[in-house]
Amino acid sequence: MQVDWTIYLTFLGAGLILLLPRDSKNLIRWIALLTGVAALLVGLKNYFDYNAWVNAELAAHNGKLTDGFQQLVNVSWIPALNVNYHLAVDGISYPLIILNGFVCVTGILFSWNIENRVKEFFAFFLTLIAGVYGVFMSMDLFLLFVFYELAIIPKYFVIAIWGSTRKEYGAMKLVLYSFVGSALVFIGILAVFFSAGGQTFDILELVKHPLAPDVQIWVFPLIFVGFAVLAGMWPFHTWAPTGHVAAPTAASMLLAGVVMKLGSYGCFRAAMLLFPQGLEHWKWWIAILAVIGIVYGAAVALVQKDFKFIIGYSSVSHMGFVLLGLATLNVMGMSGAILQMFSHGIIASLLFAVVGRMVYDRTHTRQLDELGGLAKVIPFACVTFVIGGAASMGMPGFSGFIAEYQILAGAFQMHPLLALAAGLSIPLTVAYILNANNKVFMERDEPAGEHGHSHSDESSEHPPLPPITLPERVAAIILMALLVIVGLYPSIMLNMIKANVELFLRGGR
C-alpha cells in the first residue's frame, strides 16, 4: 500500500463510524483505534522504505539527492482550471506523516474516556486527521488548499462540543483566525496561478518557472503569513493559547501536535518553495518575528496561573523555533526546523495529555495554586511530565535537543544576535517547566508559607484520584519512546530531512 492510503483509510474509518449506531460506544472506539493504527502502520512502512531509498541514493550519488520526491498519484481533477489530483511525498513530508499517525493513535487512546456523543467525536476527529494527511501529500496548490480547509472545520466542533473553559469562544477564535489566514492564502494562490499564465496549480511545475521578482515580493507575504497564522507566528498567535486551553485533550494534542505544523509546512511547501526571491526579501522579518515569538511565548508561559496555558504558550515559543529555522536558509537551521516540527509535535501532545487527561480529568482544576502533591497520587503522570518537560527544555538525549541545537546553530550562521536572543528562551523554558512541575506534582506536603496554618495534617495527603488507565499508559509510553529514539538515534529521521533540505537549497526543489 502506498502512503496515500493513510488518507483513504482514515476517511473510510470516519465514514464507517458514521454508519454505526450511536450507542455502541466501544465498537466505535475500537474502530477509530484500528483505523488510526492501520494508517500509522502504512505510514511507517513507507517511511522506512523511503529512508532506505534515500540512504541508497545518497551512497550512490556522493551524498546528494537528485530528486527527493516519491510520486504517488497525478490525475486530472478539474480540467477547466487545470487542477490535478497530485500527491507526492518527500523527506520533509514523511516525518510529518508519521507524526500525524502517532498523534492520531495516542489521541484516540487518550480520548478513551469520552462518553458524550462518542460517534460524532471520532467521526470529526478522523476527518480532521485525514485532512491533515492530505495536506502533507498534496503537490497541487488547489488540492493542498482543499485539504487544509477540510482540516479547519472539524476543529470547531471538536472544541466547541467537547471542550472546557470558554470553549465556544476559543473554538470560534481559532476557526476565524485560520479562515482569515486561509483567505490570504486563497488570494495568493489565485495570484500565483494567473501570474504564471493560468496553466497549472502544480507546485512542482510552478517551481520550474519562477515568477517575476516584483510579483514574488507581494505574493510571498500573503501566502507565508496566511499559513504562519496557523503556525502561531507572533503577533498572530493569540488563537493558540485560548484554543489549546478550550480544546478537549485529544484536540489540544492535535492542535499543537499537528495542526500548527500544517501552518509551518504550508509556509515551507507553498511559500518558500515557490518564491525564492520573495523569501530572500522577507527572511529577516520572518526571523525577527520568530525570535520575538520564541522569547515572548516563553516569558508569558512563566507567569501563567493555568497549567494548560503554560503549555499553550510554550507551543508558541517552540513553533517560533520552527519559523526561525526555516528563515535561516541553511542546511543546519532548516533541517533543525523540520525535525523540530516532529519533535514539538510529540512533546506538545505528551504535555497536553498530562495536563488535560491525566490531571484535569481527575482533579477538575488546572489552577497551579489549587493543585499540588500529585506526584504521590498519580506518579505516572509526574514521570511523564518530567520526561516531556525535559525534552521541551532541550535536554540532550531527547529529540528536542537535536532540533533546537541545530536551529540555534543555523541562526548563528545567519546572525549571531538572532541565536543569542532565541537562546534566551532556554532558561525561561527551564523555569516554567520546573515551576509547573513543582507546583503541580510536588509542594503539597511542605507547609505553604502564607497559609501554612490552614494546612493541617489531612491536607498533606492528597485525596485519592482514579488511577492512570491502561490506554493512557500505552499512549504516553509510545510518545516518550519516540522522544528518546529520535533523541538518541536522530539519523533515522535527520538523514532524509537533510538530504531534502540540501536539495531545496541547491534550487533542485
Binding site: W77, I78, P79, A80, L81, E120, F142, F145, V146, E149, L150, I152, I153, Y156, F157, A160, I161, E168, M172, V175, L176, F179, V180, A183, F186, I187, L190, A191, F193, F194, S195, G198
Partner: protein, 499 residues
C-alpha cells in the same frame, strides 16, 4: 414577417403547457373533491399531482435537447441547449419546493397554493427562454406576481401579510423602473430584441449615449431588485422571514436562478460593448462599473447584517444578498469564463439554499419557530436533517470540498482572469474573500445552535421519508458538484460558447 405557426410554438413550449394543465387540474381537483378532506391529505394528493406534472414536463425538454437552436415569434423566445438545461433546473427546484410544501402547513387554500406555484414556474421558464425586452418583462411579472401571492399564504400571520405587502410595493415600483428603462433602450435603439440591440449599438458606434445610459441604469435598478442586491435589497429580509418557508425557498432559489439567467443574457448579449471598466483606478462608465458598486455593497452589508440576526430565515436572507454580490463578480468579469462561473454558481447556490430552507421548513414546522434558539440541540433531536444542514451551511460558507467552495473559487478566478496582468479586479476578489471569512462566523453560529448548544426538549423529531430522501439527494448533489464538478462545468462551458 413570417406567419406564426401555432403548432411550432406549442411544440417548443409543450412543457410549459403541461404545467398550465397541471395547475388547472390541481385547482379543479381541490375544488371538486377535496374541500372536506384533512389538510394533510389535500396537500399530499395535490402535491402528488403537481409532482407528476413536473416530472412529465421534463420529457419534452429532454426530447428537445441536442437540437440546433431555434427562435420563434420573431425572436421573442428561443430554445437551445443552455436554455433547456436551465429549464430543467427550474423544474427540479419547483419539484423540490412542492415536496417541501407537502409537509408544511400552508393553510386552507391548498389547491390555489400549488397552482400559483406552478404559474410561477411557468413564468420562470418563459423568462429563461425570453430574448426580447417585452417578453422578459411579462415573464418577470408573471413570476413576481405569483411570488407576491405565495408570500401572503400564512393568512393568519401578520408578518406574512406585512411581508407580502412590502414585497409587492417594492416589486411594483421596481417593475416600473424596469419598464421605464427598457422603454428608453427601445427608444434609442429602435428594437426590443437583445441581439438587435447589440447590432445597433455595434454598427451605429453610439457607445454610451446619455439616453442609453439612463435606460441601462433604470433597467439595472429593476433587475437589482429582483436579485436583491444592495441598495435594492430592503424587501428581502422581511419577505424571507414572513413568507411560508417553502415559499421563501422558492423566492431564494427559483426566482433567483431565472433572474440571474436573464440578467446574464441582457448584459452579455444586449449590452455587449457597453461594459465599461471596473478595474481599480481605471473606472469608466458602463454596466460593469455599476455592478461592481452593487457587488461591493452587497457583500459588505449582506454579511455584516447577517451577523446580528436572531432569526434563521432572516439570516439566510442577508446571506443570499451577500451571495448575489459574489455572483455579480462573475458578471463583472464579462468573459466566457465569467458566464460559466455565474451559471455554475447559481446552480450550486440554488440547490444549497433550497436544501437549507427545506431543512428549516421541516424542523420549524415541528418546533413552532424559526429563531436560532429553536434549533438548539437539533443534532440530537433530528440527526439526519442536522447533518444535511451541516453540509448546506458549510457549502454556503464556501468550505471545500463542497459545491459552494468550488463555485466561489471559480467566480473569483474568472474575475482575476479578466485582467491577469494587472489584477484590475483583485479589489473585488479581496473584498469577496475577506467577507467570506466574516460570513463563516454567522454560519458557525447557526451550526453552533444545532450541534453544540443543548436544549431541554430532547424528543426526537420524525420527518416523512420522502422529504428525507429528497433533501438527502440535494445534499449529495451539493457534495458531488464540489468533489467532481468536471462534467457540469464542461457542459456549461461548451454551451456558453454559443452565447
Amino acid at each position: 414577417m413570417t406567419p406564426i405557426s401555432y403548432f411550432e410554438i406549442f411544440r417548443a413550449l409543450s412543457s410549459e403547457a403541461m404545467l398550465v394543465v397541471t395547475a388547472l387540474a390541481a385547482l379543479t381537483l381541490d375544488l371538486a373533491s377535496l374541500r372536506r378532506a384533512e389538510p394533510i391529505t389535500r396537500r399530499r394528493t395535490i402535491g402528488t399531482v403537481a409532482v407528476i406534472g413536473l416530472l412529465a414536463s421534463v420529457i419534452p425538454l429532454w426530447q428537445q435537447l441536442g437540437h440546433p437552436r431555434t427562435v420563434f415569434l420573431g425572436g421573442t423566445l428561443a430554445v437551445d441547449d443552455l436554455i433547456l438545461v436551465f429549464k430543467v433546473v427550474i423544474v427540479a427546484l419547483t419539484l423540490l419546493t412542492v415536496l417541501i410544501s407537502m409537509d408544511y402547513d400552508v393553510g386552507r387554500h391548498v389547491g390555489e397554493y400549488f397552482a400559483v406555484m406552478l404559474f410561477g414556474a411557468i413564468g420562470m421558464m418563459l423568462l429563461i427562454s425570453a430574448e426580447e425586452l417585452l417578453m422578459i418583462f411579462v415573464a418577470l411579472e408573471l413570476t413576481s406576481i405569483s411570488l407576491y401571492i405565495l408570500t401572503a399564504f400564512h393568512k393568519g400571520e401578520l408578518r406574512s401579510q406585512e411581508a407580502a405587502v412590502k414585497y409587492f410595493m417594492f416589486g411594483a415600483i421596481s417593475s416600473a423602473f424596469l419598464l421605464f428603462g427598457l422603454s428608453y433602450i427601445f427608444g434609442v435603439t429602435g428594437t426590443t430584441s437583445l441581439y438587435g440591440i447589440r447590432e445597433v449599438v455595434k454598427s451605429s458606434g453610439m457607445g454610451m449615449s446619455p439616453l442609453l445610459a439612463t435606460g441601462m441604469l433604470f433597467a439595472l435598478v429593476g433587475f437589482g431588485f429582483k436579485v436583491a442586491v444592495v441598495p435594492f435589497h430592503l424587501w428581502a429580509p422581511d419577505a424571507y422571514e414572513g413568507a411560508p418557508t417553502p415559499v421563501t425557498a422558492y423566492i431564494a432559489t427559483g426566482s433567483k436562478v431565472a433572474s440571474f439567467f436573464v440578467l446574464l443574457k441582457v448584459l452579455f448579449i444586449g449590452f455587449a460593448g457597453l461594459e465599461g471598466l471596473a478595474f481599480w483606478g481605471h473606472f469608466s462608465s458602463g454596466w460593469t462599473m455599476l455592478l461592481a458598486i452593487m457587488a461591493a455593497l452587497s457583500m459588505v452589508l449582506g454579511n455584516c447584517a447577517a451577523i446580528v440576526q436572531r432569526n434563521v430565515k432572516r439570516m439566510l436572507a442577508y446571506s443570499s444578498i451577500a451571495h448575489a454580490g459574489y455572483i455579480f463578480i462573475g458578471l463583472i468579469a464579462a468573459s466566457r469564463m465569467g458566464a460559466t462561473s455565474v451559471l455554475f454558481y447559481i446552480i450550486v447556490y440554488s440547490l444549497t439554499n433550497l436544501g437549507a430552507f427545506g431543512v428549516v421548513a421541516a424542523l420549524s414546522s415541528r418546533t413552532g419557530g424559526d429563531d436560532l434558539k429553536d434549533f438548539d440541540g437539533m443534532a440530537k433531536r433530528a440527526p439526519f436533517l442536522s447533518s444535511l444542514m451541516l453540509i448546506f451551511v458549510l457549502s454556503l460558507a464556501g468550505i471545500p470540498p463542497l459545491g459552494g467552495f468550488f463555485g466561489k473559487f471559480y467566480l473569483f478566478a474568472s474575475a482575476i482572469q479578466r485582467d491577469s496582468q494587472n489584477f484590475g479586479l483583485l479589489w473585488l476578489v479581496v473584498l469577496g474573500i475577506l467577507m467570506s471569512a466574516v460570513s463563516l462566523y454567522y454560519y458557525l453560529v447557526l451550526l453552533k445552535h444545532i450541534y453544540v448548544v443543548d436544549s431541554k426538549n430532547q424528543s426526537r423529531i420524525i420527518t416523512p421519508t420522502y422529504l428525507n430522501v429528497a433533501l438527502g439527494l440535494v445534499a449529495l448533489a451539493v457534495v458531488l458538484l464540489g468533489v467532481y464538478p468536471k462534467p457540469i462545468l464542461e457542459l456549461l462551458n461548451s454551451l456558453v460558447a454559443a452565447l
